[in-house]
């Protein structure tokens, strides 16, 4: 086993060649994810990846693992279910900002409350890529698209601040144009014993002509170089409030620990639900007595 593991490379985590638009930020995320898994010594059959619906979720076709490509907006509860059934299995969630912060935002907040041991990678491209570029909840005011011809009127959602306010135990932001930095965040997120959020700025070269690679390069900076202390919540909050149009911090904003969803289930103390699944009907006579 160990020998095979030693030989695993990014290729072992690839299936088909991606068909994203050339230059799409999803390539960077895909590469970083595979590099992280190789770095962590994982095997494709030792983990589950749950995908949302979107260009991002189409990664289901390009990566090798136990995968579940579910409903638009709903990957998080599926991931929680997998963790509850088999808490020995690392679970990663890949989804778009429309998926996770639009359709599924309720799950975002509640999964933060639950704190399952899951790594959540958000492809934050300010648009609904797969449905052809409508603004997503993170689109800046004034962003124009066929469904917002006079510009977006709503305030953009700040996923970092939202996660912090909701009590997330691991809040980070990466950039698809910085694969090396992303790998560090993903590795830290997968190692984090709890719900780890990696919000990835992902240029959509086809539909988002505002938040381009060049635009990001001019604004991003590394939090570790700025002597940010990720255990300092107040500092994390201040960083999350920096004007996005001017300065964009990358790295781990905040990290803390509290009991996970799985660790608090009495049924999971000895073994996984999968392992404890009966093969013949368990005795019910004690329960029957309640009704006699």
């Amino acid at each position: 086993m160990a020998k095979l593991k030693d030989r695993l490379t990014e290729k072992n985590f690839s299936s088909k060649a991606p068909n994203w638009c050339p230059g799409c930020g999803d390539f960077g995320i895909w590469t970083a994810l595979k590099k992280s898994l190789v770095r962590l010594g994982k095997r494709p059959d030792e983990l589950a990846i749950v995908f949302g619906i979107g260009c991002s979720g189409n990664m289901v076709n390009f990566i090798r693992a136990y995968g579940f490509h579910g409903l638009h907006g709903r990957p998080l509860p599926v991931a929680e279910g997998i963790r509850l059934a088999n808490h020995r299995l690392p679970v990663i969630v890949i989804g778009g900002d429309g998926d996770g912060l639009g359709e599924g935002i309720g799950h975002f907040i509640h999964t933060i409350r639950d704190n399952p041991n899951i790594t959540y990678i958000i492809h934050d491209n300010q648009v609904y890529g797969l449905t052809k570029g409508q603004p997503s909840p993170t689109a800046p005011r004034g962003f124009t698209s066929p469904t917002a011809p006079t510009g977006v009127k709503e305030e953009p959602l700040n996923p970092i601040a939202l996660a912090l306010a909701a009590g997330a135990t691991f809040v980070s932001r990466g950039f698809a144009g910085d694969v090396a930095g992303l790998v560090e965040l993903m590795v830290a997120g997968i190692n984090h014993p709890g719900f780890a959020i990696v919000d990835v700025l992902q240029p959509c070269v086809t539909y988002n002509h505002h938040n381009t690679y060049f635009w990001y390069y001019q604004r991003v900076y590394d939090l570790t170089n700025g002597q940010h202390d990720p255990s300092d919540f107040a500092a994390a909050w201040r960083r999350s409030q920096e004007p996005f149009e001017e300065k964009i911090p990358l790295g781990i904003f905040f990290r803390t620990e509290r009991p996970t969803l799985e660790s608090q289930q009495p049924a999971l103390r000895q073994q996984t639900l999968v392992a404890s699944s009966p093969t013949s009907p368990p005795a019910i006579s004690q329960l029957v007595k309640h009704y006699q």
Partner: protein
């Protein structure tokens, strides 16, 4: 006024929500059950917690009894409103006791009704018990009137309330005694009915939701998630209480969409999972039903119906979700809908539902309603004898190339292909809500679409052989057949039994499986009857329409009900009697 039925004694307590009416009817029901009698406990309450007219009733008989009764032999009124609401239900020469502390002047009732003032509040208070305890005082009164030993009730109070502490138990016991003493000292007129306990039997008094919960545990269910919604909440409550000690993870989740998707996640990962809700929550789950079908993930779902549309009548009953549930979620996929007709079927159909879900890797829906889910029925003790757990085809070892994916969705004659559980060495695959190829990779090729689509749909052929067919009850000379489904089975069978005593023989056909529909079997069963009547609890005859669609048989004669109340046996008997005159 309604006619009394020989043998059956019906007790009703009326007041407002929060008076402990359900507690009283459950305690009394169990007291009679322990005496080897057949009991049915039925509660009516509005969708508010405190206040609002509510009632509890207990029908009891030495012979088989499957449903509630409208005619009341003894009515207990805790307030003036309940007299007005229920006195018409009292049988000729029936009795009514009322709280004379609450109703200062005697209520005006029919001359044949014996109205007995009992200062229930004062009795409770003098014994050092709370006013709340007047429900228990009334039980003491009831049992003493019937000449039924109060000791049984006291045993049950000790068992059920023991965990609340000795003080509470002692108070309750004093309240029972207070009621008994009152009758001994103050009631001179003989009560027209008496009930004697027979030998205690092993029968159970259980609600549909509890039976489903027991069935799920017997089926090896590992995960239950729910979001509160009447009438499914009591199943969530059952699971919270009994699930963890049976090794389940039980979760109340933030909404029904999270509930069903989490269950799908659990099941994908390899453990049995179920969810339950009512129509509104089921609506939110609809998209995920298709997801389970498309990814071929087993899933067991319960819809406990209440009257719709929308929030409807939250605490009442109806069989109005049938068409919705049969067609829920876009596209074609094997649709499996089971509809237990009684608590025994609730228990038995759960292991079947789980086995079908696992063997055919597809969602299975179990359809109940408020009447079945949250009324208590007498039934033989459940046992796991004869039950099996069949997890279906699970791939255990590597048949895929080291660098590739496992052909999880390989086509097969039965439509079923082996599924590896995530974490199995060497068999990674993609479960995909997009149409996909044998590995689960998205695929829009027309041939692949047809291959995968027919693979999934083909499962119905196997499922059709595995589900129960039409069930025929009662003797028939072929004159008249009642065709029904779900909880209406109980009232219909009781009605047939009433008519049996009048030598009117009618039979009944009930369908515990509504999809796949046993069309051929039903068509041939119906061909033996000269007159068929459909009885179902909705306004549009949804089941009758389904029968017509699936068998070509048009049943014009339909007895429908959509006022939120369940069918009642004596009323049905009257309907059937009238028809027998015409068609018999």
């Amino acid at each position: 006024m309604v006619m009394p039925e020989p043998q059956t004694f019906n007790w009703k307590i009326g007041g407002v929500g929060g008076y402990g009416l359900q507690a009283a009817s459950n305690l009394l029901g169990k007291t009679f059950l322990r005496g080897g009698l057949f009991v049915h406990v039925y509660d009516e309450f509005p969708s508010i917690i405190k206040g609002g007219a509510a009632s509890g009733q207990v029908a009891v008989s030495p012979a088989t009894l499957r449903s509630h009764r409208r005619a009341v032999n003894l009515l207990v009124c805790l307030n003036a409103q309940s007299v007005r609401d229920h006195v018409d239900e009292v049988v000729r020469n029936g009795w009514m006791i009322y709280d004379a502390d609450e109703l200062k002047t005697p209520p005006s009732v029919r001359p044949d009704v014996v109205a007995v003032p009992v200062r229930l509040t004062t009795i409770a208070r003098t014994l050092g018990a709370e006013k709340m305890m007047r429900n228990v005082v009334s039980l003491g009164v009831t049992l003493e009137l019937l000449g039924y030993p109060a000791a049984t009730l006291k045993d049950i109070i000790r068992e059920e309330y023991g965990r609340k502490g000795q003080a509470v138990v002692a108070e309750d016991l004093r309240a029972v005694d207070g009621g008994v003493e009152f009758v001994k000292k103050q009631v001179k007129k003989p009560f027209p009915w008496s009930l004697k306990p027979a030998r205690r039997s092993s029968r159970m008094l259980i609600a549909g939701n509890e039976a489903l919960g027991l069935g799920a545990i017997a089926a090896g269910c590992r995960f239950y998630a729910g979001y509160p919604m009447t009438p499914s909440s009591s199943l969530l409550q059952f699971m919270v209480k009994h699930g963890p000690s049976s090794g389940l993870v039980v979760r109340q989740m933030p909404d029904e969409i999270a509930v069903v998707n989490a269950a799908i996640g659990v099941s994908f990962a390899g453990a049995r999972a179920m969810v339950a809700t009512s129509g509104g929550g089921f609506s939110l789950m609809v998209e995920a039903i298709g997801l389970a079908a498309m990814t071929e993930t087993p899933l067991v779902m319960v819809d406990a119906q209440r009257p719709g549309p929308s929030t409807g009548l939250p605490t009442w009953t109806e069989q109005g979700d049938l068409r919705f549930v049969l067609h829920a979620a876009q596209g074609d996929f094997p649709r499996v809908v089971l509809a237990p007709g009684d608590v025994e079927e609730c228990f038995r159909l759960m292991p079947l539902a789980f086995n079908l879900a696992d063997r055919y890797q597809t969602p299975v829906i179990v359809l109940t309603d408020k009447y079945l889910a949250e009324s208590w029925f007498t039934t033989p003790a459940f046992s796991t004898r004869g039950l099996t757990i069949d997890r279906g085809r699970i791939a255990k070892s590597g048949t895929s190339r080291a660098s590739g994916l496992f052909a999880r969705y390989a086509d097969s004659p039965s439509g079923v292909s082996a599924r590896p559980l995530p974490g199995t060495p060497g068999l990674p695959f993609m479960a995909n809500s997009d149409e996909h190829d044998q590995f689960g990779l998205s695929n829009e090729d027309p041939d692949m679409r047809i291959t995968q689509h027919s693979k999934r749909l083909r499962k119905l052929q196997g499922i059709a052989k595995a589900v129960p067919g039409p069930q025929r009850y009662g003797a028939s000379r072929g004159q008249m057949t009642i065709l029904t489904w779900g909880s209406t089975k109980g009232p219909v069978l009781d009605a047939l039994e009433i008519l049996e005593r009048e030598s009117l023989s009618i039979d009944m056909i009930q369908l515990p499986a509504l999809s796949p529909f046993p069309g051929a079997a039903l068509r041939s069963a119906l061909s033996k009857s000269s007159h068929v009547v459909v009885v179902e609890g909705n306004a549009s005859g949804q089941f009758a329409g389904l029968v017509r669609e699936q068998t070509g048989v048009t049943v014009e004669d339909q007895i429908l009900k959509s006022d939120g109340r369940p069918f009642e046996a004596t009323e049905l008997a009257e309907e059937f009697r009238r028809r027998m005159k015409r068609y018999g």
